[in-house]
C-alpha cells in the first residue's frame, strides 16, 4: 500500500469512528433532557421551604426524574410516599440531626469534578465548607448536632487502578476543628496499639454524649467495629465483620451490614443488629443484600436504601427480626428523621 492509500484508509476509519463516538456522546447527553422531565406516576415534587427542625418529617435526596432531581426534599414522616417539597440544595449524600445538616456534593470544575462537604444550619444555609478527597460515600451528624462525619472513596492512581482506600473525616461543627482522616487516631486492637499502612475507616456513627462514636476499621482484609473517643483520639476494636455501623437512638444496639460467606462478591452483605451489652447479633427480616448505612427511625425500626429504578428506593424493617421489609419511598436515598 502506498503512503497515500494508507493515509486515506486511516482518514476513512477515523471519520467512521468519530461518527460512532459523537453518536454515543449525543445519546448520553440526550438523557439529560429526559431526566429533567418528571416521570408519570412518580411522586409529585414542588419547590418550597425545607427546615431541619420541622417536627416529624423525613429529609432525603430526591432521585425522581424532573427539575428537582438530586435536591434535598422533605415529606411527613407519617406519609413518606406522599408529595415532596424540594429545597433547591443538591447533595449526593446527606444526614441531619438537631438542626445541623451535612451535605456531600460534587463541584463541577473545568477539568474534573471535586467534592466537598457543606455544614448546613436548620434553614439549609451553609455555615462551613470542607474539601472531600474522593467520591462521597457516608454522612452522619451526631444526635446533638455538634459533630459531623463523612467518608469518601479515594481512587487508585496506578495503570487501570484498582486500589481504593477510604478516608473518614470528623469535624466539630462548633469550633470548625477538622480531623481530615481518622487514621490520625491511635488504634487499639486486642488491647495493644496497632500500626498498619492499610488501615481504612468508614461509616462513622455518633453517640449522644459528644465523645463516643463507632465506625468500621478495615485492615488485612478484615473489618472491625471500633468504638472511638473524640477526646482521647483513640479507636478500640470491639467486634469483627461489621461495616457501616449505625447506633440506635437509645445507644444500646448497632445496625450494620455484615459480609456473609456464600453471597455473590458484589452483593455480599446482610443487615444485622448487634446488641452492645450482650454482643449478640440478630438478623432483621431482610433477605436482600444491603449496601447502606442504615438509619434508625426510632428504637425499633430501621430504614435503608436498596437499588431501585431511579437509583435507590427506601425500605423499612423492624430491628428485632420480626415482620417483613416494606418499601416506603421510591427514588429516594440518604434519609434523616428530623425535628425536635
Amino acid at each position: 500500500m502506498t503512503v497515500r492509500n494508507r493515509v486515506l484508509v486511516l482518514l476513512a476509519a477515523v471519520l467512521a469512528l468519530a461518527a460512532v463516538a459523537v453518536a454515543s456522546i449525543l445519546h448520553a447527553s440526550a438523557r439529560a433532557e429526559r431526566r429533567d422531565q418528571a416521570q408519570p406516576g412518580g411522586p409529585p415534587v414542588t419547590s418550597g421551604r425545607v427546615a431541619l427542625t420541622t417536627p416529624a418529617t423525613m429529609v432525603f435526596r430526591n432521585m425522581a426524574w424532573g427539575p428537582h432531581r438530586d435536591e434535598l426534599t422533605t415529606v411527613p414522616a407519617s406519609d413518606p410516599s406522599g408529595p415532596r417539597v424540594a429545597s433547591g440544595v443538591k447533595c449526593l449524600r446527606f444526614y441531619a440531626a438537631s438542626g445541623t445538616g451535612v451535605c456531600l456534593q460534587a463541584v463541577h470544575g473545568p477539568v474534573s469534578d471535586t467534592y466537598r462537604a457543606l455544614i448546613l444550619d436548620a434553614h439549609l444555609h451553609v455555615t462551613a465548607r470542607y474539601d472531600v478527597p474522593g467520591i462521597p460515600s457516608r454522612a452522619r451528624v451526631s444526635p446533638t448536632g455538634h459533630y459531623a462525619a463523612w467518608t469518601a472513596f479515594v481512587g487508585g492512581d496506578s495503570y487501570a487502578g484498582t486500589n481504593f482506600s477510604t478516608r473518614a473525616a470528623i469535624v466539630d461543627v462548633r469550633t470548625g476543628r477538622l480531623t481530615s482522616s481518622l487514621e490520625a487516631y491511635r488504634v487499639i486492637k486486642d488491647g495493644h496499639t496497632y500500626h498498619a499502612a492499610d488501615v481504612n475507616f468508614w461509616g462513622v456513627t455518633f453517640a449522644p454524649d459528644d465523645r463516643t462514636f463507632y465506625a468500621t476499621l478495615a485492615t488485612k482484609a478484615k473489618t472491625y467495629l471500633v468504638r472511638g473517643d473524640l477526646q482521647a483520639r483513640t479507636v478500640t476494636t470491639l467486634h469483627t465483620n461489621v461495616e457501616c455501623p449505625s447506633l440506635s437512638p437509645d445507644g444500646t444496639r448497632i445496625a450494620f451490614k455484615k459480609r456473609v460467606p456464600g453471597l455473590p462478591k458484589d452483593a455480599p452483605w446482610h443487615l444485622y443488629v448487634l446488641d452492645l451489652r450482650t454482643m449478640r447479633e440478630t438478623a432483621p427480616a431482610e433477605s436482600r443484600s444491603v449496601d447502606d448505612q442504615a438509619v434508625w427511625k426510632d428504637d425499633h425500626t430501621l430504614v435503608y436504601a436498596l437499588p431501585g429504578d431511579y437509583g435507590a428506593d427506601l425500605y423499612t424493617v423492624p430491628a428485632d427480626g420480626t415482620g417483613t421489609p416494606r418499601r416506603i419511598s421510591t427514588a429516594a436515598v440518604s434519609p434523616a428523621y428530623v425535628g425536635p
Binding site: 469512528l17 460512532v20 477539568v111 469534578d113 474539601d131 479515594v154 487502578g161 498498619a196 449496601d291
Partner: protein
C-alpha cells in the same frame, strides 16, 4: 557480533543488522527520530488517551454508576502482578520467533486492550469487570516488550536514548490527555460512562490502525544471519551475557528500593501536608515532569552515557526521598519532590530500555527487554510488599528512612557494577 561488543571495538560503526538499513541514512537519523519511532509514539499516545480515559472514570463508575463498593477490589492486584510478568515474558518470546513478528505481537496486545473497552459496557458486576481489566492488562503486558524492541531496532545505537525519550514523552502526553477527554465527556452528558467507554474504544481502534498501517512489519530481519535461535532457552541464556546480566541485576536491585507510586504520593501527602483536594493531581505532576524531561534526558543519555543518566535518575529519586525526610516544609517542596519523581522516570524508564538494547542481539531483542522489564517489575512489587510491612511495623518515616538507605546502597553497588561499561560508553 553483539551490539555492545561491536560498539566497544568500533564505536562509530552501527551494529550490523541495524546498520544495513540505516548506514546510508545515518547522517539523517542523527538529527531526526526514525519514522517507526514516531509511529509507535503516536500509537502509544492514542492508546494512552484511550486507557487513561477509562482509568480516570473507573472509580466513579463503580461507585456512582454501578453502586458497587470498590474496596477489596485491589486484592487481585498481587495475584495479577505475577501473571502479568509471565505474559510479558511470553510476549517478548513470541515476538522474537520469526521475522517481523514484533509488530503483530504488539498489535495483538493493542487489539486485546481495545476490545476490552466495549466489554466494559456489558460488565455490570465486580467479577466480569475484574476479568475485563485483567484482559486489558494482559494486552498491555503482551505489547510492551515487542514495542520497545521495535523502537530499539529502528534506531541507531547512538540515538536510542533519544528515540526512547521521544516515545516516552508521547506516551505520557497521551496519559495526561486521557482524563481530560473523559471528564469533558462526562461534563457534556448525564452519567455518560457508556459514552466514555465507546469513545475510548474508538480511540483505541485508531491506535491499532496507526500501528497496522504505519509501523513497518519486518525491518531488517530476513537479511540477518541468525546467530542465535530465538528459543526460550536462548532467551534465558541471555542472562549469561555479562552486560545484560549486570543491567538486569542493577534494575532488580534498584527496583527493590523503588517505593511504588501510590506509596510515594501517600508519603508526599502525609509528610508534606498536601491538601486532600490536590491528592488526585499528584500523579499529574510526576507525569508533567516526565513529559518535559524524557526527550532532553534521553538525548543527554546518548551523549554522556546511558548508565550515568540511569544512575543519576536514581540519584534524583534518592533526593526526593531525602526531601520527604527533611524537617523543612517549604511551600515549594511538593513541587520539587514531584519534579524529581518525574525526572527519575525520564532518566530511567526509556533509558533502561536503550541501555539494555545494547546488550541484546537483535534476534532476541524483545525477549531480552522483557527479561529486564519483568525483573524490574517483580522487584518493585516485592518492594511495595516490604514497604507496606515496614510501614505497618515502624511507621511511614522509618519505612522511608529504610528505603532511602536501601536505595543509596543499591545505587552505590549498581554504579560500581556498571562503571567499566560506563567508562567505555563515555568515549563514544
Amino acid at each position: 557480533m553483539y551490539v555492545a561488543d561491536s560498539r566497544a571495538s568500533d564505536p562509530v560503526a552501527p551494529a550490523s543488522a541495524e546498520g544495513t538499513a540505516r548506514r546510508v541514512l545515518a547522517g539523517r537519523y542523527r538529527t531526526a527520530v526514525a519514522p517507526t519511532v514516531l509511529a509507535l509514539g503516536t500509537v502509544s499516545l492514542i492508546t494512552d488517551v484511550s486507557s487513561e480515559m477509562v482509568t480516570a472514570v473507573l472509580p466513579l463508575y463503580l461507585v456512582t454508576g454501578l453502586g458497587l463498593s470498590p474496596l477489596g477490589f485491589g486484592l487481585l492486584d498481587g495475584v495479577y502482578n505475577g501473571f502479568s510478568a509471565l505474559v510479558r515474558l511470553a510476549g517478548g518470546h513470541l515476538a522474537d520467533r520469526g521475522g517481523g513478528r514484533h509488530k503483530w505481537v504488539a498489535g495483538l496486545g493493542y487489539g486485546v486492550s481495545a476490545l476490552c473497552k466495549p466489554l466494559l459496557l456489558l460488565a455490570h458486576s465486580l467479577t466480569p469487570i475484574g476479568l475485563v481489566l485483567a484482559a486489558d492488562r494482559t494486552g498491555k503486558g503482551l505489547r510492551t516488550a515487542p514495542r520497545d524492541a521495535l523502537i530499539s531496532l529502528s534506531s541507531t545505537p547512538a540515538t536510542r536514548g533519544r528515540a526512547f525519550g521521544v516515545h516516552r514523552a508521547m506516551d505520557t502526553a497521551g496519559a495526561l490527555l486521557g482524563p481530560l477527554v473523559a471528564f469533558l465527556i462526562l461534563r457534556a452528558t448525564v452519567d455518560g460512562y457508556d459514552a466514555v467507554f465507546t469513545v475510548s474504544f474508538c480511540v483505541a481502534v485508531v491506535g491499532v490502525l496507526v500501528l497496522v498501517l504505519f509501523v513497518p512489519g519486518s525491518s531488517s530481519a530476513p537479511a540477518v544471519e541468525k546467530a542465535v535461535r530465538p528459543t526460550v532457552r536462548a532467551a534465558l541464556a541471555l542472562l549469561r551475557r555479562r552486560d545484560l546480566r549486570r543491567i538486569t541485576v542493577c534494575a532488580l536491585l534498584l527496583g527493590l528500593a523503588t517505593v511504588s507510586d501510590s506509596f510515594a504520593y501517600l508519603l508526599l501527602q502525609r509528610r508534606l501536608g498536601v491538601p486532600d483536594r490536590w491528592f488526585a493531581l499528584l500523579p499529574l505532576g510526576t507525569a508533567a515532569a516526565f513529559l518535559l524531561l524524557a526527550i532532553p534526558l534521553g538525548r543527554l543519555a546518548d551523549r554522556v552515557g546511558r548508565r550515568r543518566i540511569f544512575l543519576a535518575g536514581h540519584g534524583a529519586l534518592l533526593l526526593a526521598y531525602a526531601l520527604l525526610l527533611t524537617a523543612w516544609h517549604g511551600p515549594a517542596l511538593p513541587y520539587a519532590v514531584l519534579l524529581l519523581h518525574g525526572a527519575f522516570y525520564a532518566a530511567t524508564d526509556g533509558v533502561l530500555m536503550a541501555m539494555a538494547s545494547d546488550g541484546v542481539p537483535e534476534e532476541l531483542r524483545s525477549s531480552g527487554l522483557a527479561v529486564v522489564q519483568t525483573g524490574q517489575a517483580l522487584a518493585r512489587f516485592v518492594c511495595s510488599l516490604g514497604f507496606g510491612a515496614a510501614w505497618s511495623m515502624w511507621g511511614d518515616r522509618t519505612a522511608l528512612l529504610a528505603s532511602t538507605a536501601a536505595l543509596a546502597l543499591c545505587a552505590a553497588v549498581s554504579s560500581a557494577f556498571l562503571r567499566p561499561a560506563a567508562a567505555r560508553e563515555a568515549t563514544v
